[in-house]
Amino acid sequence: MPDINLVPVQERVTERFESLKKRLSVGSAILLVLTAVFTLGVLVFFTTQVSGRSQLLAQVEDNAQVINSYKSTEELLVVAKDKSSLAEKVLAQRTDYYQTFNGFAKLVPQGVYFTDIKFAAGKIVMNGKAKSSAEIAGLVSSLLTPEGSKIVSNVTIDTLTADETGVYTFSIAAQATGKD
């Protein structure tokens, strides 16, 4: 009885084989086409990049030649820039004492004079005399104004003494604002 089904089984096997063969053929053809397309694409891409590289190298060479022709100009510019940029740094950091004294002159009350002023390591120590305590108060409040803050900050009255004539001797310390 099993012989009855032999023919259809064989046919099915053959059919499956034919189908496999067909799929393999189609697949291999598609793969071949894709391989060819990829190969062509990569070839075009590669050629484009190599050509671009050649052009860029030529441009680099041209620009290098131009730059070399201006070498003496570049030397002058490098020297001028090097020195003037350093000069700018120093000038930006230094204290303009001429302006500082002019600033003080506008802030100091009429009844106050200094006996000595010392600027060192960013600090200012001012010793002086004043007609009255009000004059010193005026000096301190002047130093604390925005105008005074451009010159000094952290104002401290270290000593304040009055003699029998009513003249006050003071010592004021402050931080020099900004530079130096």
């Binding site: 680099v60 230094r94 600027f119």
Partner: protein, 265 residues
């Protein structure tokens, strides 16, 4: 009847049929294998190589742009103007200590303002350093100063006596000499005698110097143009007269030769 021969023949025929049947698959299978081999051994390496070239082209394009930019900047510069700016920059920031010129400039500033110089003191160190060669003892050249980190410097301590307005004039004169200087440790005290308007002043004047750069760097090094403030400062020096500044930058010549070198002058 012996059918073994027929069976053998049939088996052989079946085997041949099987071989023929499967050999028809050889072409697609081989073509698939060849495709994979081409993809793996030729296309992929070439693609990787092309990608590397692409990346390198990006860098090369940037390099080309920066070189083009540099070439454009250099082409736009006026060489004559630059030569003047270099001379002015040398006045501003000399290549050597030039301490005698500095002292001469301080003396001129004092003379022009009416202050009396009591003492001028400096320790410039190696004399060779003042002739444009590197300082033999950099510590002495940059021993002190407000900005020792900026550049080598030489310091001159000055003591003077003056009135208040003369002091202000002196400070202004010193701060406006062509060479970049800074003033530090300024101490001003009124003369001890009552009613005197004289001030005793001591200060340190720090003057900077720096040798000219000797190396331009690689061709790819971007070129830095002068800023507007730098141009303005150099122009100020140029406008005040480079010729006058050049004269001022020379130390006064003195007659030489004495019969008795111990005789007082």
């Amino acid at each position: 009847m012996d059918l073994s021969g027929v069976t053998k023949v049939t088996a052989k025929a079946e085997s041949s049929l099987e071989i023929a049947k499967y050999s028809s698959l050889a072409v697609p299978v081989i073509s698939i294998l060849v495709s994979f081999m081409v993809l793996l051994m030729i296309v992929w390496p070439k693609f990787s190589q092309a990608l590397q070239i692409k990346n390198s082209n990006v860098e090369l394009a940037q390099k080309t742009d920066s070189l083009k930019q540099k070439a454009t900047i250099l082409a736009s510069l006026d060489k004559t103007e630059l030569e003047k700016q270099v001379v002015a920059a040398e006045q501003l920031f000399p290549s050597d200590k030039n301490v005698f010129l500095l002292i001469s400039q301080i003396e001129k500033a004092a003379g022009g303002s009416g202050v009396l110089l009591n003492r001028v003191e400096t320790a410039p160190g190696s004399a060779q350093g003042s002739s444009g060669k590197p300082s033999a003892n950099p510590a002495s050249a940059s021993s002190a100063g407000a900005q020792p980190e900026i550049a080598p410097n030489v310091e001159v301590s000055v003591s003077l006596t003056s009135g208040y307005s003369s002091l202000l004039q002196f400070l202004n004169n010193v701060l406006t000499i062509p060479r970049v200087v800074s003033i530090s440790d300024l101490s001003v005290s009124a003369s001890s005698s009552e009613g005197s308007s004289q001030l005793k002043v001591s200060l340190n004047i720090t003057a900077y110097f720096k040798q000219m750069p000797t190396d331009l760097g690689s061709i790819e090094t971007p070129v830095a143009e002068l800023s507007d403030s730098e141009k303005a400062r150099l122009k100020q020096i140029i406008d005040t007269g480079l010729a006058a500044a050049a004269t001022a930058s020379q130390i006064e010549q003195v007659p030489v030769g004495r019969a008795d070198i111990f005789a007082p002058f």
